[in-house]
Symmetry: none
Subunit: 333 residues, 2 copies
């Protein structure tokens, strides 16, 4: 899919305007925050002003980004809205509803810059490029079209959107265009190591210790296609860890060769265990979770079961084995 | 540092030769295997033949790479050595000794292609470019200089060296040149998702178990700026792991917030321990390694020390503390 250039209407609208309001989707991610902060800096470079207004708070990990402290968060629009703004630019958001500002933005002319397939083209001006690896990469192209030179912080913010939306250049949207943009952004001062540090190297010590504890309980089943691990209260205690430190630990057993389904089991309360499930390819763990009143997606789901660690583990392994046997074989690696 | 082009002597030698022997350092890593297999394919494309001879076995994770099953492993040189070969090309290896073939290669004219600072220029022809993100990126440039078109597998192998040597584009050697090479290799058929599956989602079970064992020995020092961990023979035994399973495990202690330098210490032989070092930003672990006859890069180096685990750990922590204290403060994160 060839990349599209920013439409003339967008370039005109930016050249003409003075003050812009930027927003993105609820529960903003790296591409939301990075493309907003990046575009705001590009606009300021052009002598304009920009205010960012998001429905939900900036995740902790992105509070380190330069300028993030000035993002307006919540239901209440910034002072002067809407008359004080030349235009509202919505980034990385497939529908108006997903902004969380639907009521306030209804009737206001919008600019829609996004890379989601199925974007609802809700803008007065819409620039939607599903081939783009990130909305921030589109902002990069927009800046280039307007011959704006990026400073190092802007380049770093836009580079961050490439990292977060391509899973660190691991997903299938790590295209040649993504690497071209990365090369250009690094030339303009983006620092990959700094971004990696923000995104991947700021784990609390107890989280890493808890990973070590969890791996002591690792078991493989069903010919190595299923991995299970436990997170007992004793492990949390030894690691000095709290609930949030368990986030993402399931990715490690998931990284074992040949493993198609993973369960991590931890205590929820006196009678319940919480089961987190992950799978690859066609293996459907949402079905397994749904049978116990849980939910999620095909490759990431969760549920709660009564019982002790050993009995719940055995039951989950049996159900995952059925899911694995019913799935199409994994693609050749 | 501007990239150097392959010297004319190297191009001539390849054009003139018919049959090449390729090797790399002991305990070959992704850059060793990827640059060897990639160069072998480039040479075959030029109508030459190539045999790869490594002292140590290919780590499991790289046995999936196309052509890896034909690598000759061990002390015994391939049939016809040395007379049957036009030249021996040593890739990604700072010294002749590190090949593990020192006795056999002594007196044989060598080609030395490497990106390590402190390379000992042991070749009859040496092409050493410390600015290169990986030896595989140098092979990519060599192929370009010889106007060899890459097939998808060759592009994928060379792309893999970028991924493994830049830590998935996370280290400071994730330069614009690294991303330029990645873009070009993806255009020539490299598949980042396939490489990510090999490198990050095909870990042998013993490797993951060894990570769990290693994390049990995790210690933080110097106000949390230094992390150390051990890989004892008992850990390898409990995990069912071999030497290659240790690769990459150092990244986990390195991901802890606030950590600026990491050492992982393992047994090399009865009297020596092998110390792997990683650091962030301005902290120079190459200097620490070099003081003990080791080498590497500023942020990734290794050396060997005599002593037991406790004494070597204490000594390394002291030297890393000096390196941390002498470094410029970490960039505002």
């Amino acid at each position: 899919m060839p990349a599209t250039n920013p439409p003339d209407a967008l370039l005109k609208l930016i050249r003409k305007g003075n003050r812009f309001l930027l927003t993105s989707h609820r529960n903003p991610d790296g591409d939301s925050i990075g493309s907003e902060l990046g575009l705001a800096r590009v606009l300021r470079r052009l002598g304009k002003s920009a205010v960012i207004w998001n429905r939900d708070a900036t995740p902790d990990v992105y509070r380190q980004l330069p300028g993030s402290e000035r993002i307006v968060v919540g239901d209440e629009p910034p002072a002067g809205f809407p008359d004080a703004f030349s235009a509202v630019i919505v980034l990385e958001c497939p529908s108006l509803e997903r902004t969380g500002h639907e009521a306030q933005l209804k009737g206001v002319p919008l600019v829609n810059i996004d890379h989601h397939l199925g974007n609802q083209l809700y803008g007065k001006v819409s620039w939607v490029d599903p081939a783009a690896p990130s909305a921030g990469e589109m902002v990069h192209r927009l800046a280039h079209s307007m011959t704006v030179e990026l400073d190092a912080d802007t380049a770093t913010l836009l580079y961050l959107t490439l990292v977060t939306d391509t899973g660190g250049f691991r997903f299938s949207n790590a295209t040649a265009a993504a690497f071209d943009a990365a090369a250009d952004l690094v030339r303009q001062g983006a620092q990959p190591a700094r971004v990696a540090h923000w995104v991947y190297e700021s784990r609390p010590e107890p989280m890493v210790r808890l990973l070590g504890e969890m791996l002591q309980s690792l078991e493989l089943h069903h010919g190595g296609k299923i991995a299970t691990a436990l997170l007992t209260p004793e492990m949390f205690e030894r690691a000095g860890a709290t609930g949030g430190d368990a986030e993402g630990l399931i990715d490690t057993p998931r990284s074992i060769a040949g493993v198609e389904a993973v369960a991590v089991i931890r205590r929820k309360d006196d009678s319940h265990l919480k089961v987190s499930l992950r799978s690859r390819g066609d293996v459907d763990v949402e079905k397994v979770a749904a049978a116990h009143g849980g939910g999620g997606h095909k490759n990431a789901a969760g549920c709660e079961l009564e019982g002790d660690f050993a009995s719940v583990r055995q039951r989950v392994v049996e159900e995952l084995a059925t899911a694995v046997d019913h799935a199409a074989p994994p693609a050749e690696a």
